[in-house]
């Protein structure tokens, strides 16, 4: 990763100046940037399966003129001539789209949403150097086991400038290592455990400590798998499992637009036909440092945005466009109205004593392929996976055969929620499709009274 921390900023700034200088009187332009300069390492059997060094910088242009708007995007290069030729094509396209449109009744005028700049200058050299050691560290520390996983580290960028003077820039070095350990012969004797590390600086020592914890969890699964009959069980969902439940909000969740068009699983909560537990609170928290505080239009959310507080719905994630269409207040959500930096507030459970707290029931370290099975009743389905343990009188008896569950969030975070842990874990954004992204979550484990298994 040899890109200077200044070169992308300076190139982007120069590009924006040139783009804004070509606008006609009635035109406004917002230019946003999302990019990465990353090293990816994919592992199987504790060996490198594939590497990838990747530089991708995408800039998105949003033009407004005469109550109409258009969008396009392309990649930024280090060659100004090439960038300007792409800009010229883009302006033709943007103006052409605007010309054929009718006035947009829900258009939100581009405005100057201020300035901010987060450069990570002091951290970058040592962070990038530490990522170069990740390959050898991982191979050495996990040499005796069958380890599978993905390391991704490098710089992430986000920016939003516009022709009215707005300038937001955010850059951050970060890494994630999401991995699992396998043993045993498939299909019936496989044992698997999983963990995820993330942060700014890679450390062999921290990985070594985490790896030992994962091995310890692995050792708890050495007995023969216990078949579980369909039915309801008391269960503890570890933070990683809770993070996977939050992941389903990407498909449908707390977006205002979804609610207004009848596609939110929380419509009944909104209409007060259903309720959640007063132990459950969910909010966006940009103070966690997981995501830049501005959206692609440069709008700044409050640093803490309560969504559900003690079981009561406070607000949906509302973009300015939804606000304009439905005549409500914007809380400056991103245009897709999905969670960016959510946290679930903690409870009173001591995670170290979790088997005793569970007493008799299921310990679920992770969940797999969680999806909505019925939006109207906020029901989700998925599978157990990795360390799913049967616990009796506070003692781990052994792993279970994987089961499918189907449960409503009005149960999981509602009537059947017993408590949440005091400690929480931070997860990076593991949605690596197409690019590495800012974001993540900060969540506790949860103890529930009735988790329904189907088969």
């Amino acid at each position: 990763m040899k890109v200077s921390k200044f070169s992308i900023y300076k190139q982007f700034e120069r590009f924006c100046d040139q783009a804004f200088s070509q606008l006609q009187n009635h035109e406004k332009l917002n230019i946003s940037l999302e990019g990465e300069d990353s090293l990816y390492l994919r592992f199987n059997k504790a060996q490198l399966r594939q590497n990838l060094e990747l530089l991708q910088i995408r800039i998105s242009l949003h033009m407004q003129s005469n109550d109409r708007e258009s969008y396009t995007a392309f990649n930024l290069t280090s060659d100004e001539t090439l960038n300007l030729s792409r800009l010229a094509e883009a302006l033709i396209f943007l103006r052409g789209q605007i010309e054929i449109q009718l006035p947009d009744p829900h258009l939100v005028p581009i405005k100057n949403n201020g300035h901010s700049q987060k450069l990570a200058s002091s951290l970058i050299p040592s962070a990038l150097d530490s990522y170069k050691n990740a390959l050898s560290d991982i191979c050495e520390i996990s040499a005796q086991v069958d380890l599978v996983g993905i390391f991704a580290g490098g710089l992430l960028y986000s920016a939003s400038f516009n022709s009215l003077g707005q300038k937001h820039w955010f850059e951050q070095p970060s890494f994630l290592f999401d991995y699992s350990i396998y043993s045993g012969e498939p299909p019936n004797n496989v044992v698997a455990s999983k963990s995820c590390l993330s942060g700014e600086q890679w450390s062999a020592t921290e990985f070594s400590v985490d790896f030992q914890k994962t091995l310890n969890l692995h050792r708890l699964q050495q007995n023969k798998k216990i078949p579980i009959a369909p039915g309801k069980y008391k269960a503890y969902l570890a933070p990683a499992a809770v993070d996977e439940v939050l992941g389903v909000f990407r498909i449908a969740g707390l977006g205002y637009g979804e609610m207004a068009t009848g596609r939110s699983p929380f419509l009944k909560l909104h209409r007060q036909e259903k309720k959640l537990s007063n132990k459950f609170s969910l909010q966006e928290n940009f103070e966690l440092g997981l995501h830049c505080p501005f959206n692609q239009s440069g709008e700044l959310s409050d640093s803490i945005l309560p969504l559900v507080h003690q079981g009561k719905l406070q607000q949906f994630l509302t973009s300015s466009r939804s606000a304009a269409e439905y005549q409500v207040n914007s809380n400056f959500a991103e245009s897709d109205e999905i969670l960016r930096s959510p946290e679930i507030l903690p409870g009173n459970l001591d995670e170290i004593k979790i088997f005793q707290e569970l007493d008799t029931g299921l310990y679920l370290s992770h969940l797999h392929y969680v999806n909505w099975s019925d939006l109207e009743s906020a029901r989700i389905t998925g599978m157990t996976r990795f360390a799913a343990l049967w616990v009796e009188n506070g003692k781990v008896i052994g792993p279970i055969q994987d089961m499918r569950f189907d449960v409503s969030l009005y149960s999981l975070f509602g009537d059947d929620l017993l408590d949440l842990t005091k400690t929480r874990k931070t997860f990076p954004n593991l949605y690596l499709y197409d690019s590495r992204k800012l974001g993540g979550s900060h969540v506790p484990g949860i103890l529930v009274n009735a988790f329904t298994f189907t088969f």
């Binding site: 490198l48 530089l55 930024l76 699992s180 299909p187 797999h368 499918r404 197409d434």
Partner: protein, 481 residues
């Protein structure tokens, strides 16, 4: 594009003899999303995505580096990155890769089109989308009428110092119409065959057949309302007749993914999962009933995943995966074939320039039978018909699945009866396919732009052609009243 191509060709020519193997893959892909809701255009992102992947073979390992910076300096930086990584790589390769896994490919491939997408009239497209969404929202109980077209123009140039020079040029169109209705205290959505499920290699000629689309608008609008008033799908075991637009995902999840060789090899275990299929199963596992014949077919004219070569340079041809219910062959490119020591297919694919290739599905199709649909129905005394997928989940070995559909109808005494809402079914893959007891004689093809797997994740285009199918004694259930 000319400057970009000139830059990369210049550098390639100057360095190609310095490596045991070096390959350049440049893709430029223009994507337009055009959506209207209730007659008003929604924000419509477009993206001109252009980038280069460089791969080099060194001491038995292929290393990758990719960049969007297609200046001469940017491409040189990309090459320097991958060389540096390769030089510093001290570990043992997972397997001994070689130039045998990068065969020479020469030629061009251009997907079928009557009229290139670059000549599409956006004004005409907007008129179509506006009219469609207004037609869907034809009464007050329809709270959202949406029309959506996704257009992709993709051009990839492969260069490799084993002599490869190949260009693939694709035009792809995806169409979706959806109606959301609110009535009877319920909200239901009905689509024209799922989220962009109608996706094909074609040009702008789709705009010449708008009447059939307008007919669909009225149908889905009516059906969304019917669903609001319908009863919940009952919970019991019965014969299940599935329409091709649900078979699409059934094939995808319970045949396509478990047969991917890199899954069988364990590469995907941290994320997408493993497979219940073992290497010794090929040639002998009874995957399904004798009615079941499945092919990997990269050749159909309009299918979204039709191509001439995969990303290794291997010529793509049709192969049987399952014949008369017996598993014959899986989905693995040359690298995986070497690792497993069994034959595969040309399916080593990458979603875009920014990802290395892995084993992917492409067009995976179920052969039809001989039974007309009316006769299939007549043979069912007590059963249910389901159409159009809306939810899906399967375990990490690709066995236990659960699917939900938009639409269901009771089948009683060989006739379609009352409509049910929120229909779901669950089963286990081998058990399910062994219960396949009837196949229709006519097929339909549906696909998706968004088949996801791998680490780092990549989504790729796939399609599945299938007839209507009947499965015996399947557990079905509904939502909560």
């Amino acid at each position: 594009m000319m400057t970009e191509r000139r830059n990369l060709k210049d550098l390639y020519a100057s360095v190609k003899d310095d490596f045991e193997y070096i390959g350049f893959r440049h893709t430029r892909e223009i994507t337009h999303h055009q959506k209207f809701r209730n007659g008003t255009q929604e924000p419509a992102p477009s993206f001109v995505d252009s980038g280069l992947m460089i791969e080099i073979l060194s001491r038995g390992q292929i290393f990758y580096s990719a960049t969007c910076d297609l200046s001469a300096k940017g491409i040189r930086n990309c090459l320097d990155q991958v060389k540096l990584f390769a030089n510093n790589f001290k570990q043992t390769p997972l397997f001994a890769n070689s130039t045998a896994n990068r065969p020479k490919a020469l030629g061009t491939f251009k997907s079928t089109r009557q009229s290139d997408l670059k000549d599409l009239s956006f004004r005409e497209l907007h008129d179509f989308l506006r009219q469609s969404s207004n037609l869907i929202k034809n009464q007050k109980n329809i709270i959202a009428g949406q029309s959506y077209v996704k257009l992709v123009q993709s051009n990839t140039l492969f260069l490799g110092n084993q002599g490869t020079e190949f260009e693939q040029d694709l035009n792809i169109v995806g169409i979706e119409l959806s109606a959301t209705a609110e009535a009877n205290g319920d909200i239901q959505k009905r689509t024209s065959n799922r989220y962009l499920g109608r996706c094909y290699q074609m040009g702008s000629e789709f705009l010449q057949n708008t009447q059939s689309e307008f007919d669909k608008c009225l149908n889905i609008s009516e059906e969304a309302l019917q669903l609001c008033w319908a009863r919940q799908c009952p919970s019991e075991k019965m014969d299940l007749l599935l329409a091709p637009d649900q078979m699409m995902l059934q094939i995808h999840e319970s045949i396509g993914h478990p047969l991917e060789y890199d899954r069988i090899l364990g590469d995907e275990r941290n994320f997408a999962g493993w497979s219940f299929v073992r290497p010794t199963d090929f040639g002998q596992l009874q995957y399904g009933s004798e009615l079941m014949n499945i092919v990997f077919d990269p050749t159909p004219t309009n299918a979204i995943a039709t191509y001439a070569i995969d990303e290794s340079g291997l010529l793509a041809k049709r192969e049987f995966l399952i014949e008369k219910g017996i598993l014959k062959r899986g989905l693995g490119g040359l690298e995986s074939q070497q690792r497993l020591k069994i034959p595969g297919v040309a399916n080593f694919r990458a979603s875009q320039w920014n990802r290395p290739p892995v084993d992917r599905m492409a067009n995976i199709n179920l052969f039809p039978g001989t039974t007309p649909l009316a006769e299939m129905l007549r043979k069912i005394e007590h059963g249910i018909f389901m159409q159009t997928n809306k939810s899906w989940s399967i375990d990490d070995y690709r066995l236990k699945f659960q699917f939900g559909c938009e639409w269901a109808q009771e089948i009683k005494g060989g006739k379609l009866g009352q409509v049910f809402k929120n229909p779901n079914y669950r089963d286990s893959s081998l058990q399910f396919w062994r219960k396949l007891k009837d196949l229709g004689k006519d097929t339909e093809s549906y696909g998706t732009f968004y088949c996801g797997k791998a680490e780092p994740g990549q989504v790729i285009r796939v399609s599945h052609e299938s007839p209507h199918c009947v499965f015996a004694d399947v557990e079905v259930f509904g939502g909560i009243s």
